[in-house]
Amino acid sequence: MDTKNIIEHFSNLYAGQIDSGKIGLAAIRDEAFARFSALGFPKPKDEEWRFTDISPLLDIPFTQASDVDESGILAQSLDSFWIPDVDGPKIVVANGVLSKGLSQRLNNLPFKISSVYDAKQAKVIAEFVKNSPAADSNGFTALNTSLMRDALFLDVPANTNVREPVQILFLSSGSEKPQAIFPRLIVRIGRNSRMTLIESYASRHESIYFVNGVSDIHIEENASLHHVRLQADSASAFHIGHSFVEQKQDSRYQSCSISIGSRISRHHISAILDGSGAETRLDGLYLGKGEQLLDNHTLIDHKAAHCQSHELYRGVLADKARGVFSGKILVERNAQKTDAIQNNNGLLLSEEARIDSKPQLEIYADDVRCTHGATVGQLDDEALFYLKSRGIGHNTAKGILIYAFAEEALKNIESKPIRTYVDGILNRFFREVNT
């Protein structure tokens, strides 16, 4: 489809959607849709999308995903999506809409879970949506704002330690007709509070769909969020996700973004360090095979002084898979004593796999320490021979080396059960690419 047809196509979806006027989003949506119409989807010549050709996505006439019939899905059928031995709430957002029926343990929590359909919270949510960078960042985020059918809001009050990790499953129901889903998540961690959050994307059926999600994350003074994001959508799905993180003074944000699913996937994180003493850790792991394209874009905006950011992304690509990493560190004029480290390393398991890497430092303060490094390589033959010469079989030896490489990006996942679960994903990936 050309740009005009695309916009027309989505106009029809827009016109056909359920009216949300009474929750105060209508004006915001109209504005966002006008932005989308003006921006369209990114074009190949846009610098930010140079390595990521989204044209296969634009050729598919997606329809707005319909409501999921909760009674048609047994809660048990979602068991494999939950991390074993994690006792916190299990929240299901099905086709973009909070499903209380499929969720578990929503009661007696030290924080509030709500959606745009909860009258009491609708105003607050509308305010977050309105002020989100998503409104006009690019065509995708504008489209999410105009077409999202719900927004999930996790609101952690001040001085609260949420002990058990919170899991959110963004489930795509999958159907014959390719559907578009617009998940929206808003998280606020109040002053001095802490939480661990697992945000995962998956489908019960292998099918073609398009997830275009936005997460707005606000971490207030001296609060901390551990965030694991797991993109495990269907192999023929398209996934575009934007996480907008805003950090206040002395807050800590620790993210591990794992991408393994989808035919074309892009995850963009921007973290704005807006108060002194804030710390950000962005880790990421992308595991690609077949003809997957896995793209990670990060932007760390050091606005305030005495902040630290550490970033480590690692990618393992087999077959004809492609990886893209673009990491920008922006140090603004007042951000003295910034300490920023960025690393991106890729491991290619085949001659045809490829990684395009683009680190960018933009520094306007003078008293800072910023370093970045990027490497792309293949498995070390010497190391492989060394392991084999000790009796370790070829595939096991390969697995050991790949695991050691990938693990580096998972080291900061503190929760044992989460780490074990992610290790399982890694192992499955090795088995698949080794056969």
Partner: protein, 250 residues
């Protein structure tokens, strides 16, 4: 145990080994000496099964089995062990995990049960003491950041754990201080028995004072130009290699 006949091997199209004959029987220690670049490490690597080397002629038999048909890991499981001249660093893989995986793969291949973590730990503690290897090296990534001597000791430690039938030590003595040399030699000597054998590649007579060889061979330009008993090493120490280069070897 090991029978090498007329072995020729290339690397990147260049012939390095030009007809090697060598027989090693159980219980024996063979020392291989020779100038830099003569092909000692090449021979060691060919025995271990390094894929980069092409064997163009000749045979290697291990107990009547064609060794050249076996992959490096199969050779290791049959009891071949190479202590590398330059041990490889493997970031992210702990020494202990690596060794236990290796030991259990070898045990499995030989019809033995896998060793559990507790038994394994007890066994390696004992062996580490013998090699005087620092306990903390066990939990560090394989060879990463190890000093030159620590890497060499780590090779001997692995050998002590895996208990190979035929160990090839490629200049394990280079870079060791006097005490470490004695420790390494003791490690080798305590493993020696009538069933296993060693090929010790070295430049120095000093090591052979501790590990006394049954035979000494001189490798020169890809061929064994002279073989003898331990006295040959003394003679080499005294005269250098020049007298052999002039054709006196044959």
């Amino acid at each position: 145990m090991l029978k090498i006949q007329n072995l020729h091997a290339n690397i990147e199209g260049k012939e390095i080994l030009k007809g090697i004959d060598l027989q090693v029987n159980p219980g024996e220690v063979h020392a291989i000496m020779g100038p830099n670049g003569s092909g000692k490490s090449t021979l060691a690597n060919v025995l271990a099964g390094r894929e980069e080397y092409q064997v163009t002629q000749g045979t290697i038999l291990l107990d009547d089995q064609n060794l050249l048909e076996l992959s490096p890991e199969e050779r290791a499981r049959k009891g071949i062990f190479l202590a590398f001249q330059y041990p490889v660093e493997i970031p992210g893989v702990s020494n202990a995990y690596f060794l236990r995986t290796a030991l259990n793969e070898i045990r499995k291949a030989n019809g033995l049960e896998e060793m559990d973590a507790a038994d394994f730990l007890m066994m390696i503690r004992r062996k580490m003491k013998k090699i005087e290897l620092d306990n903390d090296l066990l939990h560090r990534p394989v060879n990463e950041g190890f000093s030159g001597g620590e890497k060499k000791k780590n090779e001997i430690f692995q050998m002590a754990v895996l208990e190979p039938r035929l160990a090839i030590l490629d200049e394990t003595d280079s870079g060791l201080d006097i005490d470490a040399l004695r420790v390494v030699a003791n490690g080798v000597n305590s493993l020696r028995n009538e069933k296993n054998a060693f090929i010790v590649v070295t430049h120095y007579q000093r090591l052979l004072d501790y590990i006394v060889p049954d035979f000494v061979h001189v490798l020169y330009k890809g061929q064994i130009v002279k073989s003898g008993t331990k006295e040959l090493a003394l003679e080499l120490e005294e005269k250098g290699y020049d007298w052999l280069k002039n054709g006196n070897g044959r």
